[in-house]
């Protein structure tokens, strides 16, 4: 009768929670999404391995969409502001997020970054995520679409090795196509086949930031999203 005598007896009870562990990040991502919707900003989460050509792709995108769309970027790296600097030189207002040891960007980092520049005057905001094919895939940032850059030099079985990243991609950009003639063991058909085994409805555009091949189709894909 501990409720009356105050002896401090306890009992062990099960509590059913059944909630996503990342529910806090999901809430913040929903909030970011509301910001983007309110300001008419198309937010794209651009992911890929280190060196897949994400920054070069955005530089080429800026050239293709000059005068048509106002672009902005948030660029994440463990250290240095190099990518954001490159993007600013390409005419894309950009800020860098240095994550220290964190291997991905999360929704709170993006929200914090949104407080600085006037993002509401941007039509399309690219979040250039930390180069990594694992961790960034599971953090919703509030983006409309996930785009994954995969370079031809990474090998045809990359999608099979990192299925989660590709399963969550709305579009895969096959980059560095200008190098394809130098790669005997790589074919676009084999990459397309690997994608179909991890993406139910694979969409891929082959591009070269260097020659500009495919960049028009990619720009068209972006413009079709509004």
């Amino acid at each position: 009768m501990c409720d009356t005598c105050g002896c401090g007896d306890t009992k062990i009870v099960p509590v059913d929670v059944h909630d996503r562990i990342l529910a806090g990040n999901d809430r913040q991502a929903r909030h970011n999404r509301e910001h983007f919707a309110m300001d008419g900003v198309l937010a794209i989460n651009l992911m890929g391995s280190p060196g897949a050509g994400k920054t070069a792709l955005l530089e080429a995108t800026a050239r293709a969409l000059a005068g048509k769309k106002r672009l902005g970027a948030i660029s994440g790296d463990l250290a240095t502001d190099h990518d954001a600097e490159r993007l600013r030189r390409a005419g894309i207002p950009s800020i860098g997020i240095t994550t220290g040891s964190a291997c991905h960007l999360d929704a709170e980092m993006i929200h914090h970054a949104l407080h600085d520049p006037p993002w509401e005057r941007v039509d399309c905001l690219f979040v250039e995520n930390v180069g990594n094919l694992v961790c960034p895939a599971i953090y919703d940032l509030g983006q409309r679409c996930n785009v994954v850059a995969l370079s031809v030099t990474e090998g045809v079985d990359k999608p099979l090795k990192y299925p989660v990243m590709f399963q969550r991609a709305d579009l895969v950009l096959l980059t560095k196509m200008d190098l394809l003639p130098h790669l005997e063991d790589v074919s676009v058909a084999a990459i397309r086949d690997a994608l179909a085994r991890v993406m139910p409805d694979p969409r891929m555009i082959a591009v070269s930031a260097r020659t500009g091949a495919g960049i028009g189709e990619w720009a068209g894909w972006l413009e079709a999203l509004g």
């Binding site: 009870v13 929670v17 179909a196």
Partner: protein
């Protein structure tokens, strides 16, 4: 190694539930992890054992329930064979498949010691 940041969110969530119920300690917790969640079970277990020291979870082992990936047709709803290694399309109507299980990162249950009132 996002497993460490997941453990941080997990412990915060458990603390929140424990405080809300006036729990004296947490005894055990259950986590459901999908095959395609992007979280490695062994790394999560290591991260949990490292970070639970000096938290409310210190004496609470974590039970991991692993959930296999399951796909169903987006048109007819029929389930795809569980060992699908081919294109992720329905073998009958060829429509793209939808993931119906296997992306879970869930805190499903906490066992805690509360005042007997």
């Amino acid at each position: 190694m996002h497993e460490y940041s997941i453990v941080q969110s997990l412990i915060e969530r458990v603390e929140h539930e424990a405080v809300a119920r006036g729990a004296k300690r947490v005894v055990r917790l259950w986590v459901r992890l999908g095959e395609l969640s992007g979280v490695e079970p062994d790394l999560l277990a290591t991260a949990y054992d490292t970070f639970r020291e000096h938290t409310i979870c210190e004496g609470a082992p974590m039970e991991l329930d692993r959930i296999a990936a399951a796909w169903a047709c987006s048109r007819c709803g029929g389930e795809l064979p569980s060992n699908v290694t081919d294109a992720l399309r329905c073998p009958r109507c060829h429509a793209p498949a939808t993931l119906v299980a296997g992306d879970e990162i869930l805190l499903s249950r906490i066992e805690m010691e509360v005042p007997d009132v």
